[in-house]
């Protein structure tokens, strides 16, 4: 291939890549700009469609700051607390299981791995209704612990960590064991420091899934002060006959910025871990 042909190929692919990104980002851009313009402007510039349909004439942070006085701020805080619990507990659980299943040798481990992957492949929502009755009987409704249950068990996190640990030479663990280290010590000081990528990828998965949870909080949060962000957003839309679109878009923006920002920052760990997990190969 000539230099010219190669260059023009690259230009075409770059252009296509940009167009694809733009197509997927348009709704996000529209959400972003709509939340930063005065309420009266949101639907004002659609006829005919023009540059100002999506680009505000006037920018304002009033929608965002107006949100914080309402119950929405509280819901956002609840989402952060619940998601933090799920991520920390979920990743600990996945680390212990992934470590045991790949580094230790014990009867039943392959069977156990199969149960984890198959069992957690069934989405949590499938059992949310029967579980919510039990959770209610136990008095765990309207509790952070109860809310965090939705995303705790994540087969992908266990799978990712187990595959990564299995690729680390066993001699490392053996050397540490010779020095008298306990298994937990081996996990903490030998395996964990070299597993940044998969740990971040597993944590990101746990975070994004719990942050989105909708059905479960709907079932077990009955008090307004224990509502989570997505449910509070939906009630902004469906409670009132007339929707306050500036509030809705501001809420949508705040709820998206947290996980999308994390993903933009850490996505290469996610992509690399998927590529290396052998999940697909």
């Amino acid at each position: 291939m000539t230099r010219f042909a190669r260059l023009s190929r690259q230009i075409v692919f770059t252009l296509l890549g940009f167009l694809a990104a733009l197509a997927f980002m348009l709704p996000v851009i529209w959400m972003f700009t709509s939340s930063l313009r005065p309420n009266a402007e949101i639907f004002a510039h659609f006829h005919p469609l023009s540059w100002h349909s999506i680009w505000p004439r006037e920018w304002t942070l009033a929608n965002i700051s107006g949100l914080m006085g309402t119950g929405f701020g509280r819901s956002l805080l609840n989402s952060l607390i619940v998601t933090a619990i799920t991520t920390v507990v979920g990743i600990s659980m996945a680390l212990l299981a992934g470590f045991a299943l790949s580094v230790l040798t014990f009867p039943g481990q392959n069977l156990l791995f199969g149960f984890f992957v198959i069992g957690f492949s069934v989405p949590f929502d499938a059992v949310a209704v029967p579980l919510s009755a039990t959770v209610r009987d136990l008095g765990l409704t309207n509790s952070y612990f109860g809310l965090s249950l939705a995303g705790l068990g994540n087969g992908f996190a266990i799978y990712l960590l187990r595959q990564f640990f299995a690729g680390i030479p066993k001699s490392l663990a053996e050397a540490a064991r010779l020095d008298g280290a306990s298994w937990l010590r081996v996990l903490w000081s030998v395996y964990l420091p070299i597993s940044k990528g998969p740990v971040i990828a597993a944590g990101l998965t746990l975070f994004v899934f719990q942050w989105q949870a909708y059905l479960w909080p709907l079932l077990i949060s009955t008090r307004p002060d224990m509502q989570v962000g997505p449910v509070a957003l939906a009630s902004l839309v469906s409670l009132a006959g007339t929707v306050d679109f500036s509030q809705m878009f501001a809420g949508a923006l705040v709820l998206s910025i947290v996980p999308a920002g994390l993903m933009l920052w850490l996505q290469r760990y996610f992509v690399n871990s998927v590529a290396r997990s052998g999940m697909t190969g």
């Binding site: 694809a20 040798t105 209704v129």
Partner: protein
């Protein structure tokens, strides 16, 4: 016996050979989670699906065995409709997403400028909470929304989208596809990068064109990641709930009554928990069958 291999003896002495107590102990939290968050509620649903509130005393449940299931398939005004809606939705969404994800994956493994940045932007929708995507798309698809403004600009009449029985389901398909495509694309990119360079070079050397190479080399070698994407995507979309709950309440005319919304309505608005549990048992059977199929596919086709 004294002739055990030295390596095995060393492993046994170090406790690397047999750590069953420690192994099960470290797995205990995950086992507990599996039992509490999947197995036990599934069994509760199974047992309760064979019962029904007594006609004479609503607080008492009596055994009716398969009556709930028989009711679902013969008399329920909504169950078969919700099955039809869900299966149609899953088939179309999975097909659209898989093809789009494959095309995007093929694009993003090419050389160009800032390709990984464009790829990341395509991936962003999956991180946005489904409730947010639902309200934003729902607002865009209003009669006076920005989508109709765009159609008007192109000289096309305004469309009712979610308000019409003919378009509501397809509007949800559009929203769901937008959400998921970038996520599945990542798995297909990983699969494409696993294809050895020399295989592709050999094909190019033999004078195979791009299309020919794609269908006879790339696609067969991509079978496992594609199988994974199709199955995992099917499972993920089967329990679609948020768009129906926030945007359509299953309507208009039950055309977006997804199975999960049907179950939720049955249990919480109509108060028939046992009937809802019978539906959950059916859902679980379908889920497990699909997941088992995935394991067969991934195991046999190496």
């Amino acid at each position: 016996m004294t002739d055990t291999p030295p390596a095995a003896r060393r492993r046994a002495r170090l406790g690397l050979g047999n750590d069953w107590a420690m192994g099960w102990l470290l797995c205990a939290p995950a086992i507990l989670a599996l039992l509490v968050l999947r197995v036990v509620p599934a069994l509760i649903a199974l047992v309760d699906s064979f019962r029904q509130a007594s006609f004479f005393n609503p607080d008492e449940k009596i055994w009716v065995w398969f009556d709930n299931y028989v009711f679902l398939f013969t008399q329920s005004p909504t169950f078969l409709q919700s099955m039809k809606v869900t299966v149609t939705f899953v088939i179309v969404t999975v097909a659209v997403q898989t093809v789009a994800a494959l095309l995007l994956a093929l694009l993003f493994v090419q050389r160009g400028w800032a390709m990984s940045f464009w790829r990341t932007l395509v991936f962003i929708p999956i991180t946005i909470p489904v409730a947010v995507s639902a309200v934003v798309w729902g607002t865009a698809m209003r009669g006076d929304g920005i989508l109709n403004a765009a159609l008007e600009r192109l000289g096309i009449a305004a469309q009712p989208f979610l308000a019409s029985p003919d378009q509501a389901l397809w509007s949800v398909v559009l929203t769901a596809s937008w959400i998921g495509v970038g996520y599945w694309m990542v798995f297909l990119i990983a699969g494409l990068k696993d294809i050895p360079e020399d295989v592709k070079e050999a094909a190019a050397m033999d004078g195979a064109g791009a299309l020919r190479t794609f269908f006879s080399i790339t696609l067969p070698l991509l079978r496992r990641p594609l199988a994974f994407v199709v199955v995992a995507n099917t499972v993920a979309n089967f329990l679609q709930f948020v768009p129906a709950a926030i945007l359509t309440q299953g309507g208009p005319n039950y055309t977006t009554r997804f199975l999960m919304y049907e179950i939720y309505t049955q249990a919480y608005l109509q108060g028939d928990v046992s009937l809802a549990n019978a539906q959950i048992v059916l859902v679980l059977i379908v889920m497990l069958a699909i997941v088992a199929l995935q394991f067969r596919l991934l195991r046999s086709n190496t």
